[in-house]
């Protein structure tokens, strides 16, 4: 991650401009609608304006503390969590703090709210921002009182001098602090973590009042005078083009202004618009109605031959042959050849959609030599870059205002919809909102990839596993950036193939070829979804073969608590989610611990003895460790359902306990949707699903009676939280289905078996 700069005062004032802009944009978030696009204010270097030690913190002379949240809020509760790190270091209560959403701007460092990175990469930086502000306020007070800074402290928005009992507010020190030089990073002291009063507690959900009153503004909720609404008819097959069209009927729909031809997408697709015809109208209904009246003949292009059924055979063939060896210890082939018993299983997981509840929307407004964008984007800097490319404008002229995101799960980190809105705003010479329908969302997604895996184990005469071979074939995400990319690499296999600690002398991980025929993207926990499904299912199959309990087999295969070295793992390097191994090692002890904990709180042994049918799975991802136990039951009609779930997360140091818990609860339901219904299937290059009738998600009736969440107490470096809860859920369900029915499901989703 690029570190945000400790900035000069001019930068700060740039930021106070940003704050002003954002207040109007966030007026949106509080319910007011934008009456005009934000205009830049004149910069002002007067310290009387207040104290801004860095781009994240501002203290006004009246003591109002503003903290910028530079990461997108998409349901993970980041606005209720990240600013607390600054507030706690600073010594101010969250009740006194106004949280402002940061626009897209490199000065904040990385803003791509993706990969469960916000806290794990921002923890130290955010503390530094708060600690810097505290250091400067204390220096200002100590100068005033002629005492040593070390004898002062801050709390509740005041600097206090212990010996004399003197006390003064942050506001009264703002002007003096603003005149001080910003200290170097090494001269700033952090509070001991025990003094971070709110970190690790159940923090209130900052935006809850806005959510429950309908005043939280998402991408489509912003209104600009003169704004037009566009709905696009995109080629049904990616890479397709328009052959011919007739727009006469569409133009007759009252409210329709114009039909605009979009630029066709070319390889590699990256974040380009997808092509097609845009119907631009006064209101959303007119645009939708106009689109339905378009007559278009498509040239479907090369991907029209893509069929899920046939591709599955291609993937099976791919994993039946040796792939590129990425992980290797011992001699797997020889051991397998000489094994007393050989166990082999092939697992298949189809493409998966994101389907956030909020279909994509973006507004672009080009005026006065700049472009303002309001979008529910996970990645405002990618939005800036794509809009700049489309408009041929410098990036600093593109002002991306981030709204609330009505769910995202990776979909909204792509800037294709930003590309569409900016293109149309230019064409129409008016502010344009591009509105995606649910059908667009499902059919023009960047799908999580489709995968087939072949796992093979060799057992010796005592039933001990002596060889483990894991072949995996899936079109990689890299294919959207480089069209010839048709085989996963070590950076892809880090997600659950390379970082699985195994106490087996002969281990091999192989990557097999799989070309892409749709846009591939990353969905909440990405490749871990299917790697965890396969490895945990396979362990359950091995346990059954051995006649052992799954818990016992898992702990034996993982082996004793230890930090697994690269040598032990049999790999030259591990991407490790961008984090060094000494900070975030592959810790077999932590993986074991979550298994031990989840089986303890779920009364694994006792419940099994009572005849409850349980499934267990565990997985390391995004530098955190999660285990889940699922209790599965049967309805009188023979259909199965999840009755109760226990889940344990070790994410190292956590910030907001209640939001970690809510992410874990949500991950259970998300994982259930994958296990029950998750499937995008392609026929002749077209997506067969179109709305929530053909693409099902779990509903209230499917929700478990109870979800128990335990969070491991830890002072270790923070890991991810948003994604790691998902991977163990589907295999725990599938293992429980086996316990309940004796049926081993190796192809997701369960709905294809008729069991749900």
């Amino acid at each position: 991650m690029t570190e945000p700069r400790l900035i000069t005062r001019r930068d700060f004032l740039g930021n106070s401009v940003l704050v002003g802009v954002q207040l109007s944009a966030f007026g949106l978030l509080l319910g007011t609608r934008v009456s005009r696009a934000a205009t830049p204010l004149d910069s002002n270097e007067n310290p009387a304006m207040g104290f801004t030690p860095n781009v994240f913190v501002h203290i006004s002379p009246t003591g109002e503390v503003t903290i910028v949240c530079h990461r997108s809020e998409m349901g993970q509760g980041i606005r209720s969590s990240m600013p607390v790190l600054i507030a706690d270091e600073l010594g101010v209560d969250m009740k006194q703090v106004k949280v402002v959403q940061g626009d897209g701007d490199k000065k904040y460092g990385d803003q791509n709210t993706d990969g469960s990175t916000s806290i794990r990469n921002g923890y130290e930086n955010m503390r530094l921002m708060g600690a810097t502000a505290r250091t400067m306020l204390i220096t200002a007070a100590a100068d005033l009182w002629k005492v040593s800074p070390a004898s002062c402290k801050t709390e509740h928005g005041f600097v206090l001098h212990h010996d004399t009992g003197r006390k003064t507010s942050f506001g009264s020190l703002a002007e003096a602090a603003a005149k001080l030089p910003v200290p170097k990073k090494e001269d700033v002291t952090y509070r001991p973590t025990s003094e971070l009063k709110n970190v690790g507690t159940n923090l209130p959900l900052l935006d809850a009042p806005a959510y429950v009153t309908g005043t939280a503004a998402y991408g489509a909720d912003i209104s600009i005078p003169g704004m037009l609404i566009a709905v696009i008819a995109r080629p049904p097959v990616v890479g397709g083009k328009i052959k011919s069209y007739n727009v006469d009927k569409a133009l007759k729909v009252p409210g329709v202004k114009k039909v605009v031809e979009m630029p066709p997408a070319t390889l590699p697709y990256a974040f380009q618009a997808w092509g097609g015809l845009a119907v631009v109208a006064d209101n959303t209904w007119a645009a939708l109605k106009g689109r339905a009246q378009l007559e278009i003949e498509w040239d479907e292009g090369a991907n029209a031959s893509y069929n899920s059924d046939e591709f599955r055979k291609e993937l099976s063939l791919s994993v039946s042959k040796p792939g590129k060896v990425i992980r290797k210890t011992g001699d797997v082939e020889k051991t397998l050849a000489n094994a007393s018993k050989r166990v082999e299983a092939e697992y298949h997981v189809p493409h998966l959609p994101h389907v956030p509840m909020e279909p994509i929307a973006c507004i672009a407004h080009i005026h006065d030599g700049r472009c303002d964008i309001w979008a529910s984007t996970q990645n405002p800097q990618a939005a800036q870059k794509e809009a700049a490319r489309v408009l041929g404008m410098p990036e600093e002229k593109i002002h991306v205002h981030v709204t609330f995101l009505g769910g995202a799960f990776g979909r909204k980190s792509k800037a294709d919809f930003i590309s569409e809105a900016t293109f149309l705003a230019k064409k129409m010479d008016a502010p344009v909102r591009v509105q995606w329908s649910r059908e667009d969302d499902i059919q023009q997604d960047y799908y999580n990839t489709v995968s087939t895996q072949l796992l093979t184990a060799g057992l010796d005469e005592h039933g001990k596993v002596t060889a483990w071979r894991h072949r995996t074939a899936f079109p990689p995400i890299g294919s959207i950036f480089s069209a010839s990319d048709d085989q996963p690499d070590a950076g892809d296999l880090q997600q659950g193939v390379l970082d699985l600690p195994l106490s087996i002398p002969n281990v091999q991980g192989e990557s097999c070829k799989a070309p892409a025929h749709v846009r591939i993207g990353w969905l909440r926990s990405v490749y871990n979804i299917f790697h965890s499904f396969a490895t945990n299912s396979f362990m359950d199959e091995l346990a059954h073969t051995q006649g052992k309990d799954m818990r016992e087999t898992m702990l034996e295969l993982i082996g004793p608590p230890r930090l697994a070295s690269l040598e032990e793992l049999g790999i030259p390097a591990l991407k490790n989610y961008g984090s060094p191994l000494d900070k975030h090692p592959v810790d077999a002890g932590r993986l074991r611990h979550v298994i031990e904990e989840v089986t303890r709180i779920s009364h694994w042994k006792g419940h099994k003895a009572e005849g409850r049918t349980l499934g267990l799975a565990a997985h390391r991802s995004f530098l955190s460790y999660v285990a889940a136990v699922v209790s599965m039951k049967k309805h009188p009609d023979g259909k199965v359902y999840v009755d109760e779930v226990w889940t344990v997360i070790d994410a190292g140091k956590i910030i907001n306990r209640d939001r970690v818990r809510s992410q874990m609860e949500g991950a259970v339901l998300f994982g259930m949707s994958i296990a029950y219904y998750g499937a995008i299937t392609m026929k002749d290059g077209k997506t067969e699903q179109s709305n929530f009738d053909t693409l099902k998600l779990v509903r209230m009736k499917d929700a478990p009676r109870k979800i128990h969440v335990e969070i491991v107490e830890s002072e270790l470096a923070p890991g991810g939280v948003g994604e790691p809860g998902v991977p163990p859920v589907a295999p725990a369900i599938i293992n429980a289905v086996f316990a309940l029915t004796g049926q081993r499901v190796r192809t997701l989703p369960l709905s294809s078996t008729g069991l749900v």
């Binding site: 429950v212 009153t213 009252p254 959303t284 509840m357 909020e358 809510s662 339901l669 009738d693 509903r699």
Partner: protein, 155 residues
């Protein structure tokens, strides 16, 4: 185009619209209340739930012509100060994650409790199963409704 008169959150309003326009789009685009959400356009997800003469309806498939002379309540009009017991319980239980579906969930739950003040688990399940939540807040929604209805949670 036709002129349609309705009562929106207690206020008489007149709007000129295509009579086929779903109430959802009329409320959002023409009447300027964005708290009612578009999620599917086919009455499959419940994000657009509002009350028409006190009955919960899916506004995405209800033409505005059907609201002529009727009373429409959206999330903005559910309570004077955002203090409906369900809204308060939603905050207390930290129900929302992304929040997008929650206005529809609350409108459905409010209609349920009006019709059945002490719903059973089955009532809650039947009533709320039409409202999707991709973040997976179902268990907290259930708890919040039960608290408002004064029903003890079983363990």
């Amino acid at each position: 185009m036709s002129k349609i008169k309705l009562k929106l959150n207690g206020v008489d309003r007149e709007v000129e619209a295509d009579p086929e326009m779903p109430l959802l789009w009329a409320i959002r685009d023409l009447l300027g209340l964005p708290g009612t959400k578009y999620g599917c356009g086919q009455a499959l997800c419940g994000a657009c739930t509002i009350h028409l003469d006190d009955q919960p309806i899916r506004s995405c498939v209800t033409p505005i012509s059907r609201a002529e002379g009727k009373s429409v309540t959206t999330i903005e009009g559910l309570s004077p100060n955002g203090d409906h017991p369900l809204q308060k319980a939603w905050i207390e239980f930290g129900v929302p994650q992304c929040g997008f579906c929650q206005t529809g969930q609350i409108m459905t739950a409010a209609a349920l409790l009006k019709a059945i003040p002490k719903p059973t688990d089955k009532d809650i399940e039947q009533s709320l199963s039409g409202n999707l939540c991709r973040c997976g807040t179902y268990t907290r929604i259930r708890s919040a409704i039960k608290q408002v209805a004064g029903i003890k949670e079983t363990t």
